[in-house]
Structures are given as C-alpha cells and as structure tokens.
Symmetry: none
Subunit: 333 residues, 4 copies
C-alpha cells in the first residue's frame, strides 16, 4: 500500500482479496503497510488489484506457467519424432535450407546433412515474410519435396506452420511443427498445434520475456500435447552488428524453470554465417539439447536468408567442433 | 510517364512490367501518369524499362512499402467508418473498456462516452491473453453486446479480430477491425482483413520497426483494402516504470513517410492510468489523427487492464484538455 | 522464500533481517512463506538478502532516492540561473549550437535566439565525442566566447562539463553546468558539480532507468546542491528511424515521483531536424518545464550534429507553435 | 606505398598527411610500408593523396577505429601483466570478490583462487554505486589489501579506477587498470589510463555498440598504450530474468574486427550465480581469451553483488568444466 494509504483503504483491499478467494494478511510496517494475498496464484490478479485506491504496487510470487514449470513436473521431457530425440544425452542437430527451393535441392542437401550427422531436416514450405512482395514459399508442393527427402534419408522433417487452418495439411507431411517467432503469441495457432498432438518446436518471440515464452508453451501443453521444444532464436535489442542478439543464458535458465528441452538457432540468432560456428559451440557448452541451423549449397544464391546460411562444408566443421564440445559436457552429438 | 504519354504507351509499359514478373499499378494524376511496378526489386530494371516509349524516367523507390508510401500517393487517406472519420481535421476519439464484460456495462458506458465526445467505441470480445488461464473474452456474445451499444448510441464499433476464420463473423458486427500488436505479422490475418474490405486499425508490434509496420499495412492494402489506420501503442524497451515505452516521434515520422492516418494508444503505451491524460495531450500535440483509450466505470474491478484504464470522469477531463491542444494545432476534437 | 524452503532456512533469514536492523514478519501461505522486512529502506539490501538459502526473491517497496523524491519534499523545485527559471509556470527555452564554433557564430546566433524568445544559450565548449579523432571542442576559448555572447544578450549560459577537474573553470563562465548522458553515472563528476553549488542540468543516461536517473541526481543533491534539473534526451532502443527513442511519459512520471523540474531535449531525442518541432510541441503538452534545442545558422555546415539542428527560422516557428501549446496547458513560454 | 617506395617518398607523404590536418602513422611491414592517416574522414582525400610519388593506392578504411582494427594490425595482441597473459593459447581466469572487504578476506580467498588455477585477482577498492548511500569501497586501504594478497600469492591485481585523478595512485598498486561499464565513454579517464601505459581492461558500456566500444579502446591506444583488453559484461535489454543480457557473439565478432584480446564477465553478464558456470563454459567455447568472475567465501554476506557471486567450491567446479571446454577448442586453462 502507499505510504499515505488510509486504514479504510487497507481494509477495503483486504476485503477485495477475500472476495477473490484468497486470504489477506496485513503487515503494518513503520512507514508502510503490506498486504499479502495467500492462495492459488492465477493470471490477471495483478491487473485486478493494482488500480485499488491506496495501492502502491502488486508483486506476484509464483510461476504462472504450471504445466511447463519444473516446480510440478520434475522429470525432464524428451521429445521424440521419428529418429529425432531432443532432451536426452545426445545433442541433436536439425539442419537444412531456409526455404525449400526444389526437390533436387532438398534431396541432395538432405543426403549430405544426414552423412554429416544431422537427424532432423529443416526447410520452409510456408514462409512468413516481412513484405507481401517477397517469395512466400512453395506451400504444399514444398511439403511434398520435404517428404521425398525424408523418404530418401530417414531424416525427421521440421517445418513451419503459419495458420490454424494449415495445421492438418502440414501435420500430414511434417514430423515436427515449427511455430515461428512472429507467431509465438498467435494463440489460435498454438491451440491448433496443441490439438494436433504433433511434436512442436516453439520459437521465442523476438521481444518475448521468458515468462511469456513459457506461457505460450502452456497454450500447447494445455491442449494435452506434451511434445514441446522451446527454441531460443535471438531477441531484438539495440545491437546493430548482428541481426538479433542471441542470449544463451536462456538455456540454463529454462532448464531450471521448465522440464522442456531447449533448442538454439544460431543462424537467426546472429544473422551472420561467420558467427554460426562459434555460437553453435557456445550453445552446446551452455547445455542446449539441440541446434537448428540454416545450411545451403550456395548461400549467395539462396532465395532467402543467404547471409546467415553456411555451406555443407562449414556444417561438417561445425559438427566436428560441436562433437568435441558435447563430449566436454558429457554428451554426444 | 511523360506528360504527353498516350494511353497506348501506358498500356504497353504496364504489359512490359507484367512480363518482367512484376505487378503494375497505374496511377492517373492530374498532370501525369505514374506506373508503380510492385514486386521483388532487382538490379538492372531501370535500364530495361527506361528506353520505353513515353517513359519520362524510372525511379527505384527505396521504400519497400509502395502502397502505404507517401511517395506515390500524395493525398492523405481519411478512413471513414459509420460516424468515425480518421485522418481529417478533426482529432477522433475511440474509447471503451478493455474487455466487453456485460451488455449493461457496455451500453451505460457507451452513452457516457458519446456524451463526452467519443465517436468510436472500443471493447474486446476476443481477447489475446498471455496466459491460457486468463479470461479470453465473451466472443460472439460480446460482439452482440457491442452491436446493442451501437444501436443505442450510434458510436462506431472498433474491436479486435484474432484469427482469419473469425474475420467474417467479426466483420458482421464491427465497423472497424482491430489487429492487435501480437498479430501485426500474422500474415494470414492481415490478408483476411484485407479481403474483407472493412476499415482496419493495425497496431504496431511491440518490437516492430516502422518499416516492418508499414509492410504489415502493405499486406492489407495489397488485397485492395485502402482503409487502414496505423496505431502506435508503445514498444518494448528496457524501461521498467511503464508497461511499454510510447515513442511519439512515430506520429510525425509516419505522416512524412505514409499517407495513412495515425492513431495513438496512450493506455497500452504507458500501462498506467496516471500517465494517460498527459500522454494523450502530447499525442494530439505531436499530430495524432485519433486516440484510442481504455475507459472503465470502475477500473479496480475491470476483468482486464484495470491499471491502465481511466474513469469516465477522468475521460471527461482528458477530452477538455485535448480539445484545447487540438485547437492549438488548428484542429478540432 | 522458495516453495521448498525449510523452516530452518526461514528462521535463518528472519535472524539475518534482524541482524540488519530491520524487523522480520513471517507470513505462512499455503504454498509458500513470505518474510516482510520492516524498517528504514537502504540501498544494497536486495543484493545482501537475495543469495540467502531458500530465498526465491527480494522485492523492495520504497523509493531509494530520498532527496529527489516527492515523498519527502512536496514543494516543487524552481531552478534559477541568471534570467533562466525552470520549474515555474513559464516554459523555458534553452537553445544554441551543438558546438561553439567561433565568437561571431555564437554572438550572432545568440542575438537571434534572444529575439525569438530563448532565455538560455546552450553551446558545447568541451565535447564528448565517440571517436578520439573527432573535434573535441574549443575548451576554455569556447567558454570565453559563450561569456561574450552572454554579455551581449543577457542569456544564461548552459554548457557541458566533462571532468571533475574542469568544474571550477567551467563554473567560472557558465550559469548552468550540464552533465551529459554518457556521464550520468560518473560519480566523481556528479559530486564535483554538487560541491560547486551551481545549477545543474543532468541528462538521463541513454540506457538509464528512471530510478538510476533519480539516484544520479541524488549524488548532486546529497552534496548540498539543490539546483538540479532532470533532462530527458532519449533512450537507446531497437528503433532505427530515429537516433534515439524519446519517451515523453518520463515527464509526468518524474513530476509525480520527484519535485525536480524536467527538461526535454527533442534534438538528441530524435536526431532528425524534421521531427524536432512536433516533438517540442508534444513535450510542452506532456508538461515539460523547459526545452533544450540545437539551433544552427547553417546546419549543413555545422561541425557536429547538423542532422538534428534546426535553423533560426524553424526555431521561430517552433516558438510560435509551442507558445500556443503552452497556453493550452495554462502556461506561458 | 609501393613496394619500391623510398624513405624520402614515405616521409613526404607523411608530411602531406600532416598538412591536411591528419595524423600519419607509418607502419613498416616486411614487404611494404603502409601509412595510416588518422583523423576526421572526409570526401576527396583519395584524389588528393593518390597522385603522390611512391603511392600504390589510397584505401578509405571504413572502420573508424584504426588502431584497434585488425585491418592494419594483423598480429593478435597478447596483454601481459605480471603472471597474467591474455590473448595467447591459454584461457586466463581472473577471479575475486566484488569489493575488497578486509585484508583477511582477500588474502585467504586469493590463496584458494590461486590453488584452483586463477592467475589474476579482481577486487574493488573504488566502487561505482548507483546510490550515494551504498558502500563506496575502502579506496586506498583496499588497494593496500590487494597488494598484500599479491605479495602472498603472486596473482596479478585487476582493480577499477573511476577518475582520472586516481590513476597514478591505483596504478601504483594494480597490475591491470579496469575501466567500468559506466565509464566506457568517460574520455578523460580513458586518456589518463592511456597515458599511464598500464595494461587496461575496458568493460563494454551497458548500451554501447561494438563500434563505440572499439572507439573507446581507441582513446587508450591513441595515447600510445597498446595493452588493452576488451571485456563483454552484458548489455541492457528488455529481458528481466537476468540482470543483463550476455551476448557472446561479441567474442567472435571482436576477434574478427580487432586484434585485441576479449574477456567475458559472466557474473555481471547474468547477475545470477546459478547461470555463471554454464555461461563461463559457453564463453570459452565461443573463443574468449579470459574470464573475469566474482567469487566470495560467503555470497550471502558479501557487501555487494552477492547474488551473482559464486563460492570457491563452485569456482573449482567451474575451472574443471572450463578446462575441458578449453581443451575441446585446442586451448589450455
């Protein structure tokens, strides 16, 4: 309560807390009075109580994400999709082009990636683009190309779904449904992916707090789909030498607060191919359960995201280096 | 095209542009005709097009948002929806509760707002909420309550639509479709709103650049819907004393770069009711074409956003003060 | 305390609180225990208590800036320096070039500014520059030029001091000592300015919270110098269309939390001359007590900050427009 | 200059550069001589200089930090201070308490750190504090305690200097002068540290771009002091679960742009002791040349920064884990 809150205001707020099904406990200090509201925390209480007369501020204590939280579910989740397994001892690598460009492109590349150690194949069939005039992806045709690449290699397919009405179609071809950063708070989409029961790779919104991120995961979990991977892909800050700022402290922090596995995307997280290898090493050292990487045969001619794509040759070096780091943290890759 | 270009020459150039894989947009001015070539900008186009008969010059337009840009469309857009008119001399005020709570609530409040000078009524029927456990709105029932309030007062209804499949239903009741900050880059939704032809109020994403904001507007405009209002509602920064940081330089900047009207939301932009009146004054002084405000009879008991809602009494003061500011910039309110 | 905190941990923390001269009050909830620590708040308590075993988090309640706070000093401070008066009914305008370039430049310009209504003259003699190879200012010679301009016009001189050892020299010539954004947490400098007793204009650091800003003011106030003006000059965010983001909610927020007057700098706050006039209007509408503006006879040839400087002609328009806004908020200018 | 340029030609061009108001820096390579022209870049210089006799070509160097840049100085800098060596194959560890609290504390801790593998001892004698009411350090007494700890252990002393006038005193006791994040653009301080010739550890400002960071280093280098270490310590963003956001892409980026060694501070960079070990591993994996860490016997009772300090036991684990990571990137620790 404020320094000059009246007794009537304090009593009034205590009664409001009771009316909300909570137990008020009034603490009179020398300068100020604090009212503790005990009971089941639920979202929205702060905004309900804060406008009260005489209230200085409302401070919540417990995590509002119950299903994603490690407070209630202590066993770590391992998400499995075909050969892909994320959250166990092995650090998993998902790689592929930004966009699926042609069947030949994706099949040839998939074979190389498989040989170099990838277990998942990424590739965009539906592309969210800032401009309506940019290439929007090959859509279902692209999904079919991915399915062909899977048939040839056995790699699990990870691809983005952008709208609730596309979920059934994308789920038919994909092994993992990716929800992009721009859609992290597209709640209809989260629910549709939740309803599909398919493994989901949820990317952090570019200005989402980790609480918002976990609450977005909660939307999927709440529909009975426990197969959720959290993906750190960089946040928007004032920094201008990289496309985004990749905050790796996210990895151990999420591992502490949640039982869900954590994936890191150093390609979007830096936007510069030169930085992808060192940041992949760092992600594995920080404890990442998987990496998702943009690889292109010829980054200069990629239809999208060329600047941050690495070549298969560089991908091979990355795998070698990350394998050594994985061993240094008692994991394999 | 040259001042004396013939219709045949204009048609011919439009066909050439199409043949190059671009979309021509022919704009007939009083003295001259301009052909905008929409599509992926690429090197060499100038040399290819410039020798065409009747061509005055080819100007590569750096702004990637062609339809939203003031470079091609010099006349300012005025968006009209029932009694609401945004972009003219009058500064318009849209007000109402965060969520539509009950028919009585919304009708009683709408009458007061109307009496105090509002011309639009805002109110959420579909609510995007960070947590799946928060109140998600009364949905279609809420829309009906808004329609009742409109029938009683004549206020234009401004309400959020969250998913492409809801657009027809929301469009049936609403006068203006609001696209929330979290959905600014939900491209399916932007296209569906574009296709509806209904006036749209597009909120800036909380970490969107102004170029991304204008490109999101472009998605709506590109579907043939020119009735777009841009709404600055605050951005996410490191500041912790307000819910968001409200950057009013957005207003004159957008007015310079675009012909679309600019709305300011001081309620979300600050998150604190105490700051809403001074920031409303500042927004009008900066040149805002409209304000959108959260007003609640009893903010303490609002089901959402109570902390940033003002009372009808405070709204009355706000109107008085903003009216004086509007006069000081040669506008009415 | 954490959900799984033991009774021994709770007792231990209660004892630590007692040992720190505070009174612990233990509140047992269903899921969690909270310990309130009552008594005189002081800086550093959070960091002292947070590492305790079983502690979830420490939440401070009262403002740590005592002298700057409006909680204890309710009367608003008016800072006076020669003809300049900041914090009263009149909105004051301080204007001048980024750098003092020559005596003729500053004298001629000062006369025009005076005629157009300025009461303070700004101009850099010591220039903090990002690069060691940029012009660093005319130093004492520049101060003498400013003094000449003052002798000619009566305008109060506002100029930056960059190092504690320069304070006596700058104080000899200047009426107001400006502390730049980069030096907001240069504590030796704050103390030296405090010791000088001279009126101070303290600029907000480009990533300072308002609490840090007020605590920086506290360093000056704590040395017995009450003549402090707080200056909002824009913060660093991800926005790229302006040099900084100018958050005007700072003005009413600081007016609420502190008794010190608030100045706004729309020149640095936007970095674009086109935006200076509308943002000056907005600042006055938000309640700013003064504006500080960069004006240059020939911005294209200014030795520094040309892009954000306005001409004397534009300054005249700015004064006309802001005078009308000032009247609309019952002030003069 | 051309491969066969004469000394006379080189001297002549250096004089021409001086006459143009720039500072020539002559760099004699094995095969060729390069003359760097330091100063304000301006148009037309290339045309003026290129016709000079013996000139091979004139290259405008976009990087404004000439001395810090890897464009001119290709050999990596190794900074040496007593036993400390930063920038070579070995990853160096500097550890110690936030503040020097007592002679006993620092000596006992230094011995443990030395045994566990640290080669530098950090500890604050002068403490920059947000509030004037917080503990400001033991000042010269603290420096003497550090010197005692060095005498006992041989560890090199790294300690902060906050004001130009303190440089001689701090330089008398310290092996490395630390410039704190808040002082990164305190140019008088940078110059004083430059003049001292002592090894410097320059922390990145909490909202500095990497260009600003390198230009701050340039202020030290420009005074003839080449012994500069760059320290990434976290930046201010909207993230609220850590004290700062630690962007490790800084490490490979700076290694590419500059020849100076890069140090990482995971203690300030996260603000949470739990995150210090994984982020130390990640920093080494990203290529950091050194770590600087806050270690305290009893973080709960530290006078400052307890929340981010680790115990000597945790420090031992950190060393073990980082040694394995260092080996995985072909370095020692």
């Amino acid at each position: 309560m404020k320094v000059d809150a009246t007794m009537a205001q304090i009593d009034h707020m205590a009664q409001r807390i009771t009316a909300l099904g909570l137990t008020p406990q009034v603490i009179h200090g020398k300068h100020q009075t604090v009212i503790a509201a005990l009971g089941q925390e639920r979202a929205g209480l702060t905004e309900v109580l804060e406008p009260g007369e005489g209230v200085e501020k409302v401070l919540p204590i417990m995590a509002p994400y119950k299903r994603a939280s490690s407070e209630l579910t202590r066993e770590r989740t391992v998400v499995k999709a075909r050969g892909l397994e994320v959250g166990g001892t092995r650090v998993t690598v998902i790689a592929g082009p930004c966009s699926v460009e042609s069947e030949e492109q994706i099949v040839v590349l998939a074979r190389k990636l498989k040989d170099l150690g990838a277990t998942g194949l990424r590739g965009g069939a539906f592309k969210p683009r800032t401009s309506p005039y940019s290439f929007q992806g090959h859509k279902e045709l692209g999904l079919k190309m991915l399915a062909t690449a899977r048939a040839e290699t056995g790699l699990a397919i990870v691809t983005e779904v952008m709208a609730p009405e596309h979920v059934p179609m994308v789920a038919e071809y994909a092994d993992v449904l990716q929800i992009g950063a721009r859609n992290m708070q597209n709640y209809q989409l989260l629910q549709a992916v939740g309803d599909s029961g398919k493994p989901a790779l949820l990317k952090r919104g570019m200005s989402a707090t980790l609480e918002e991120f976990l609450l977005a995961a909660e939307y999927i979990l709440d529909r009975g789909n426990p197969h959720v991977m959290l993906c750190e892909r960089g946040i928007r800050t004032y920094e201008d030498h990289t496309r985004f700022t990749l905050p790796l402290a996210t990895v151990p922090y999420l591992h502490d607060k949640s039982h869900l596995p954590v994936v890191v995307d150093p390609s979007h997280g830096t936007g510069k191919s030169k930085l992808v290898i060192p940041m992949s090493r760092a992600a594995v050292a920080a404890g990442a359960d998987a990496l998702i990487l943009e690889v292109h045969e010829d980054p200069e001619h990629a239809v999208s995201d060329g600047a941050q794509s690495i070549t298969p040759a560089a991908f091979g070096q990355l795998m070698d280096q990350c394998r050594r780091i994985a061993a240094a943290v008692d994991r394999t890759l």
